[in-house]
Subunit: 304 residues, 4 copies
């Protein structure tokens, strides 16, 4: 095993010194006000040793990263039936395009694009008694951390501006692939996206995807087959239309969010999260990608 | 001039005797209950002589035919500025597809597809003090007939099932091409579509498009240039992805609606409307198209 | 009837004085060398009176205008069977796109886009003993003018650079919608496009489309139904993705070519051709469109 | 390390006993004649121990599997400059669609779809003195096996029917992304696809992708970074529009061909190849996918 703390310190220094041409997401007004100079990184290994640098303990909006967690919960609840309503192939399209959805009669390409995540949200709204509360409890249990919560301001902000998500939900509804009311599903969806977590908390939560389905407290949530599926989806679909680039540059399954977070993992080895609000043109955290590329190159640890 | 009444009687007989494999529109529940055997035809010439057969005086839901009337009203109100927000080219796509809208950054292909008509509705909601009342008054004035009105049941029925229109409106909103609230615009849109009119009333209303912009009472509403534009749009875009077929088979500018109505006109000669609720695969009235094809073939009167 | 010579003289003057931001087509090397300042217009009425101005007698490459003539010849040879291999709807896409062809399994949208015209060329290669000679004879007979001929240099130039047409032909072949060898069909196609004709000769040739299927010498070539179909196709599909704009601005069925020619007609009234090599962004002659718009506005003669 | 021979024997038995609804590829006539009941599997581990069952020594047409080898050779020759002419993202589309190519102005989505592989072929035709001979020598050297060769009959058969590839090459040419003559590039391309190899030979050849760029004879061909890129591409793009499914079911970087072969590898562990001519609906070997899924499930060895 490499000296992770040394790697992380070196990456932290290197990234902060490199020039930055990224932009903070502005389409959700509440996100636009985040300080763009923030940068944090946290890594947890299989022995639950922790390594960190920068703003790794500061909370931010996880946004699309939450799609892995709702998928995970839904898979635990209803199992393989999920795949009747959402496919598992990369989309080859930016994250918000509806064209494919139309061409394919309302079956989203995968559960990590918006339309697919809205279908997963619909499943949870159907299956859970108190969807928002129950999902929050699920995430808190995974991370063993009750301080994780929604950011109502962000949820509200997205509700007022999330017209593309309303378009997607209504289109799904028109194809019969949304069982609940559009408003109910999107209320849940905007809340899941508003989850506020730090790099450390993301590592704690995603620990089970690196640990064959067992969380930090060694409780089993998913079987190895389900974990394999989720990791495969993160690798092929986790970075919008930059999935191929991330697979090469970093070589780890992972997921990004427009809040500037990225979480990635090497099965049976470690889980790592970064946060830097500045996004590249494809909507992924620029410094986060740079840091993770340095990490896997430096340590020579990747799935490839 | 041919003997229109003779032609119409002969067409009426012929159409009723021909086999019928059409289907009544079912996606708007209120429309599904219409009796499929109804068939009416009405023609008015430049001397305001009227010729009719069958259920030509019975009211039905005009649906998409109303798009020509909102376009006409909006063009009268704000003029050529309309074309900054909606294009004038045929779409080559079925009437409800959103793909093109995405590819072209929120500018609908033309004002006669749903997305384009929703933009026109948005313009009227902005420009009119009491949009629904004012538009109804406009139509009644064109036709010189105060018995024309909305069918609230149909409007409500579409509101509860019009998910693709909600998708289109939200997508337009996401591109900044909808100024008012989605709900307000669609409330207006569902009402305009619910206009209940007979074949005769459609002829009275569309008289001005055949008469260089002057209505039956000889009041000028649009100039010849605007009328030319609207007639050109009807010809190239009035029949979803069957516009080319209609241009050939019938050879008249016209517009259809899923309620089973079609209105068409030969500039400076006549205006004709048909109603038969059974639709062909492309969503146009099967018997209406047949009747109009017979009319222009029999009379050798078309624009070509 | 208006004083056509006066209108044409006035338009000629006006057009030459207006600013010009057009570009001569450069993708066929032989066309790039044409003098961009050329401008001609010719009109023939039903009494076969001729009106002209500018370079109306100078020959140029008719290019896509020839698609109407091959369609006309093929329709005369095998009739309605044509429509099994090519559709009649506007494409809503620029003239050289293959995407639609793929989506629609090798059936081109209409016979006036490149893929559709290549299918028509394939039909003629099958039906004619000496395709190039026989088609040339057909055109000469229509125009009653044996001086019309191919420009071998232009045909050769396009053969060496027409990769998109090779792509289209091979794609058609892969779908089984090309019966002859790609090389044979394209050799014919590049020749038909290389037809060299003046504005006057275009008017003489297209006379039958304005005259219900009878050419200048009063010989019938097509029945009224076939003429209606061709005129409808010119109106809805004759100007690439500017068909809607042309329908409105000019209001006549017509066809343009990248050589800078346009021919248009008002059924039973007149046929008109213009030539100016500078193209607008959509690939249609800029001054030609301007001249025709002026003509129909000035004379108040259009189909709408 | 698991007992690979035991696993393979068990899989061999299981696969042969399971029902089979696959079809042998028929679009290349020469491939249609292969006996559909053939099935072979071969595995080589990092100690160069070999494990095999069935027709693992019988040669078949590798077809698209060759795309990884031409990519590898081109990357060795001109390095990262490759990525100016071909992208690295999954296509989300069947393997032969040209639509994306048009939308993206002639830059293929990745080097493992046909259009991308044709660009790579073009690079090799430019860079190599005797392209076909030099590439064959390269493959023979990788595998340390001079018995590998082209199947001229297959190459010729594809040349006579490969219209979609001709369409793709011409489209690339029209965008300036093909430097050599279409015929020269496709002659090379059809030959690379016609490579005739056994499962054993595929394992020998692909050994370097599992062994950080060093072939069986421990000669370095590519650096670890280039190997990572190629493995990432195989994982995200190696199975047409079934890449996501393969990533999950099997969890290994790999590549399939319509000849019924699949090769896959676990970095630093093993390389495995299967052959069974029957294809599933997405064009991948049905029994090959089944066998590899069993292998990684049984041994619990995958990248996830």
């Amino acid at each position: 095993m490499p000296d992770f703390q040394k790697s992380i310190d070196s990456i932290y220094k290197e990234v902060l010194e490199s020039p930055d041409s990224s932009t903070v997401a502005s389409y959700i007004p509440e996100l636009a006000s985040v300080e763009s100079s923030k940068f944090g990184i946290h890594l947890i290994d299989t022995n639950q040793h922790n390594y960190a640098a920068g703003n790794s303990g500061e909370k931010f909006s996880v946004q699309s990263i939450s799609k892995v967690l709702t998928l995970s919960m839904a898979l635990g609840l209803i199992g393989e039936k999920i795949w009747r309503r959402v496919d598992v192939e990369p989309s080859g399209d930016p994250f918000n395009h509806l064209s494919l959805l139309e061409q394919e009669n309302g079956i989203p390409r995968n559960p990590l694009i918006n339309a697919g995540a809205i279908v997963i949200a619909d499943i949870l709204v159907t299956e859970l008694e108190n969807p928002k509360e129950d999902f929050l409890t699920y995430v808190r249990n995974l991370a063993d951390d009750t301080s994780i919560s929604y950011d109502e301001k962000v949820a509200l902000s997205e509700k007022g501006t999330g017209f593309k998500n309303y378009a997607a939900a209504n289109l799904l509804k028109s194809y019969g692939n949304l069982r609940n009311d559009v408003e109910d599903v999107l209320d849940f969806y905007f809340h899941q996206c508003s989850l506020s977590m730090s790099c450390k908390q993301l590592c704690d939560t995603f620990y089970l995807f690196m640990n064959r389905g067992r969380c930090k407290r060694d409780i089993g949530y998913l079987d190895i087959n389900q974990i394999k599926r989720i990791n495969a989806l993160m690798l092929t679909c986790g970075f919008y239309d930059e999935a191929g680039e991330f697979a090469f540059e970093v070589g780890l399954p992972g997921k990004s969010g427009v809040g500037g977070g990225i979480v990635a993992l090497l099965p049976n080895e470690f889980c790592v999260a970064t946060w830097s609000p500045g996004l590249n043109k494809k909507g992924n955290s620029a410094r986060g990608m740079q840091a993770l590329e340095r990490l896997t190159t430096m340590t020579e640890l990747s799935i490839f």
